[in-house]
Symmetry: C2
Subunit: 330 residues, 2 copies
Amino acid sequence: MKKRIVSFENVSISASASVVGKHEALGPMGDSFDYRDMSDAFGAKTWEKAESAMQKKAFEVLLDKADLIEEDIDAMFAGDLQNQCVGSSYGLMDFNVPYFGLYGACSTAAESLMLSAMCVSGGHYRRCAAVTSSHYLAAERQYRSPIEYGAQRSPTAQWTVTGAAAFAVERGEGKARITEAMPGMVVEKGINDASNMGAAMAPAAADTLLAYFKESRLSPSDFDAIVTGDLGFEGGRVLCELLAAEGLDIHEQYNDCGVLIYDRIRQDKHAGGSGCGCSAVVLSAYYLKLFACQKIKNMLFLGTGAMMSPSSIQQGLAIPAVAHLIRLQA
Amino acid sequence: MKKRIVSFENVSISASASVVGKHEALGPMGDSFDYRDMSDAFGAKTWEKAESAMQKKAFEVLLDKADLIEEDIDAMFAGDLQNQCVGSSYGLMDFNVPYFGLYGACSTAAESLMLSAMCVSGGHYRRCAAVTSSHYLAAERQYRSPIEYGAQRSPTAQWTVTGAAAFAVERGEGKARITEAMPGMVVEKGINDASNMGAAMAPAAADTLLAYFKESRLSPSDFDAIVTGDLGFEGGRVLCELLAAEGLDIHEQYNDCGVLIYDRIRQDKHAGGSGCGCSAVVLSAYYLKLFACQKIKNMLFLGTGAMMSPSSIQQGLAIPAVAHLIRLQA
């Protein structure tokens, strides 16, 4: 078997920033985010422009928190869920920073961190930024229908997080070191229900985790946390079952950003949060803080992405997914 | 000023493959492409699926030409123009190769080559594949309207190339060495006419070229060819004018893949070819062959991408663009 784990020495996430909308602000980690807009509009006149404004804000807050200027960022890796990733291209065009556009669906935060780490580790750049976002109202009308239509949501449906996060990745001992990365393969196991993306993505997460534990010869108990981006309640359960069938028990370490971001009782978001912004803001506002106060020291973070489009669903295709893994250590 | 040129030692494009549709097969380089499908369908039942089939074919032909198997490719960088980049995710999901999804609009070929070179040069991977595509009929109905509607095309409109190309990037002296890369910044100069993407992208190409010549202290006469991806007749002229205004004359070395791929008299494609596949198939089938027969030894290749979406145009936004540069040497 070819080696899939890429190891890094002395690369870390040195700073991060999170920006969210109303529902996230009212959730259990509401106070932890750096910036909240209770109108979800971020000063813009359309939801699509609001997403761009949110990315811009996340990058500005990152620079501010890290006491950096544009000039200090050698390159940015960015992406979102909008068609042609316009959330990112419009959101970041005001900054004079070389731009790499990514599309990994909801796995984009992990993908951007992984590529940032590769470029810094390889000596090509001193410091990169990874910026991702999603916006509930922009996503609803693009993928499903405008919320004004009042369409009923399926119990397995997830709620796209309105949020953006930006991370600075550079050499040194930052908030958390990125010590390993394992990019995922595209996996499709026949799920064609676009209202059950957790189930479509779980096999990809299982594929990456099984390959990781096999190659690393580590076990789940070596980690304080094993966290997926947005499998939600449904997908998380499927993941644990798929792994259990292969003899791997992760339930003690396992959690999911889509499960954590909303209060299931008080805020009914069905199967949990999702979107490029979901894993990004939870990593920034919650897990990196757990690293900072030394509550966790060793974590696997899996970005999970469902790589379909409304057209591919209409044409009857099943949903391919990808899960990109990074290992964070204190 | 921060250093923007990234240099590589001993990294090269070792093999490539190109797959095209009918109009490209009937163009001036028709015989040079590795595979042609005169139906544009590539055995699929929809144009979107045809694009995926084309990417799959390009990757298969690459493996075949280079005498490689999937296992020999450590990672692939892929992208296309379809919403959520489903051309790539569906096209490449059958291969057990770690997958990085990119979105750089028509600049994706250069972006994928540049990131492949960084990962190989940094020692993270032995060999990467860069795969990109576009399909005229999938693009028309997504960006504009189905061709069955018979909408009249503007004189400055370009014709999306039906084509996919795959490149293998690894250490050693391959067909052409990738010696430098300069990722572009997102540039928007007020063009909001989606039928004139050449003019929208030309300022981004000018921005990258001016920065490159300033930082490298080289001049256009140091190169045998300076080639943009798909500025077409309109954008190419704008680029040369923008550079001339800054005292840089590239007209002797300059060409554009979108200008080269169709015969302007015999095939009326208005302002020329465009799309992720345009620069990719012309680089594979034309420029890499010029390297092979030693007709050129030193080339700047600029992927040019217009980073708008139909929604952003409908909302009255101008078109941001990006131009990623790689330097190829014999």
